[in-house]
Amino acid sequence: MKEIVMISGKGGTGKTSLTAAFAILGGKDVVVADCDVDAADMHLLMKPDYAHSEDFHSGYLAVIDPFQCTGCGDCMRICRFNAVEVRNRIYKVDPLRCEGCGYCTRICPANAIKNKEKRAGQWYISGIRTGSSMVHARLAIGADHSGKLVARVKNEAKDLAFEERCPYVLVDGSPGIGCPVISSLSGANLAVLVTEPTISGLHDLKRVYALVKKFGIRAGCIINKADINAEMQRQIRHFLLDEKIFHLGDLPYDEAFTNSMVAGNTILESGNETIIQLITSVWDKIKSLTS
């Protein structure tokens, strides 16, 4: 079983639209994992049935019992996150600031602070319209620990692929280079970098590739909206050559991507022959790179 992770550094380059197209092409061979748990969109194109759902708990939140609290203020003094507030001599923890480190719980002389488990979101296993399955999630608003939820989604998808003898797990990653991206990359067989020929597209590609390199993961790259800027397209191709990143193909800027999204399907269902062929050949290259 091979794990393919789609990332981009920069947002809005077309990661999810392309991941959805590959999921359609892969059909029953592909278990999909939507690891962009912060702004998950894959479900809008895959029509999941939410067959199984589970709460996800991660991390802790300090809660002060006002009846036991003596108002000594020790918790407030030691908290590095300024999460303890006092109003009318009542001490309270701001749940958005508290990181759940448990320092205050440990040192409270009145034993008035409890560390409670936080509900950080929900995750689902769904049947999708490709005939395969998808693992996806919804991070609770403002929650941290998205990296841990990503790990959970990915591991569930891997288990599922193993049970169903699926050859591929296809992961839709999140933008950036921080904890959710690091979490989605760990253990991957191939990173597919989706970029666009813009000055920020290249800048962000370089940063995310530096991360991929750190993990020693093989990488391929798709230049999306390639005809927006010929000069930037050339610069990105050079970068790919220099870094020995496999150039998977160039895709044109095409409003059919948006139109298909509006219709709730993928470019394969509303695009013209040329773009369908291009995307199919990219998917074939991805498969051959993982074998």
Partner: protein, 309 residues
């Protein structure tokens, strides 16, 4: 177009306006840089790029660097001589950043949240805190625009402390009328850290199903924090009417509509400021500029009146 917004101000510091979006790539940076540069033609202001994982604003501003510093994060350091290997630290750390592998203590700085618990509760004082580089902060200037950006080092997981520090650094411009924040995408901790003390949030979205879905998550987040907000609709003309419908239904003001225009995409791709070349784009931003400047003038007048009083 009239913009009706109520900002409740408690402090007399700069008005802090965050430019955010649930979905990535909707045009946050385009709006932030163009709006800031356009206002800076008349008025001294500051722009802070808090998308520390992928900071891009600087690519468009071509400002001259005036200051650079390394951002440090405090992490424990193991003092072999003092440590008795009691293992208390490993039971304290909630983030699995300190583990014991006999006969030594291993520290994973990327996982450390700098809570100081292990360091201050170690009975032997064998885990003193020390700085470790986690990113770079740069300040630069272009005319009346002060620009501050911070970039997280590759492989570092935690954007939040870096964002917090950069915001604090930027408060040196609190005497200016406006500070803009270019926010990270998403709705999780980096976004919350960016917008928590702002006076207003501009949510940039596009009229597509992904745009709408991620916008609704961002709206939930901003409402939870009780920050007034409005929407800028980018690439107006593609997709469908659903975002408009949603805003009407939820009673959210649409501050500006930026047309879908290949010229804008091309100028962006080259790192140019779009308003300088596309009059329609400039025209879409101008009511926003006027609104923020005008609002600030009123606040300034009140301040002056208070001073006299």
């Amino acid at each position: 177009m009239t913009i009706i917004v109520v900002m409740e101000r408690v402090s007399t510091d700069a008005v802090k306006i965050a430019i955010a979006s649930g979905k990535g790539g909707t045009g946050k940076t385009t709006l932030a840089t163009n709006l800031a540069a356009l206002i800076a033609e008349k008025q001294e202001i500051a722009l802070v790029d808090l998308d520390v994982e992928e900071p891009n604003s600087g690519l468009f501003l071509k400002a001259e660097q005036v200051h650079k510093e390394s951002l440090m994060k405090q992490v424990p350091q193991w003092d072999t001589d003092k440590c008795t290997l009691c293992g208390y630290c490993t039971s304290i750390c909630q983030f699995h950043a300190v583990i014991q592998l006999d006969p030594s203590i291993l520290i994973f700085p990327e996982l450390c949240h700098s809570c100081y618990a292990c360091s201050e509760l170690c009975p032997e004082g064998a885990l003193p805190m020390a700085g470790r580089k986690t990113g770079d902060l740069r300040e630069s200037q272009a005319g009346k625009l002060h620009f501050i950006e911070c970039r997280l080092d590759i492989g570092e997981e935690q954007a939040v402390p870096v964002i917090a520090y950069t915001r604090k650094y930027a408060s040196k411009y609190d005497h200016l009328p406006i500070i803009f924040y270019d926010a990270p995408p998403g709705t999780s901790c980096p976004l919350i850290e960016t917008i928590r003390d702002t006076d207003y949030v501009i949510l940039v979205t596009e009229p597509t199903p992904f745009g709408l879905h991620d916008l609704s998550l961002a709206v939930e987040t901003v409402r939870m924090l009780r920050i007034p907000f409005g929407i800028v609709l980018n690439r107006f003309g593609i997709g469908n009417e659903d975002v408009h419908e949603y805003c009407r239904h939820e009673d959210i003001p649409i501050l500006a509509c930026i047309p879908n225009d290949r010229r804008i995409a091309q100028l962006y791709s080259r790192g140019e400021l779009v308003y300088r070349y596309v009059p329609e784009f400039r025209a879409a931003l101008e009511p926003l500029c006027d609104f923020f400047l005008d609002h600030n003038k009123k606040a300034q007048d009140e301040r002056d009146r208070d001073d006299i009083g």
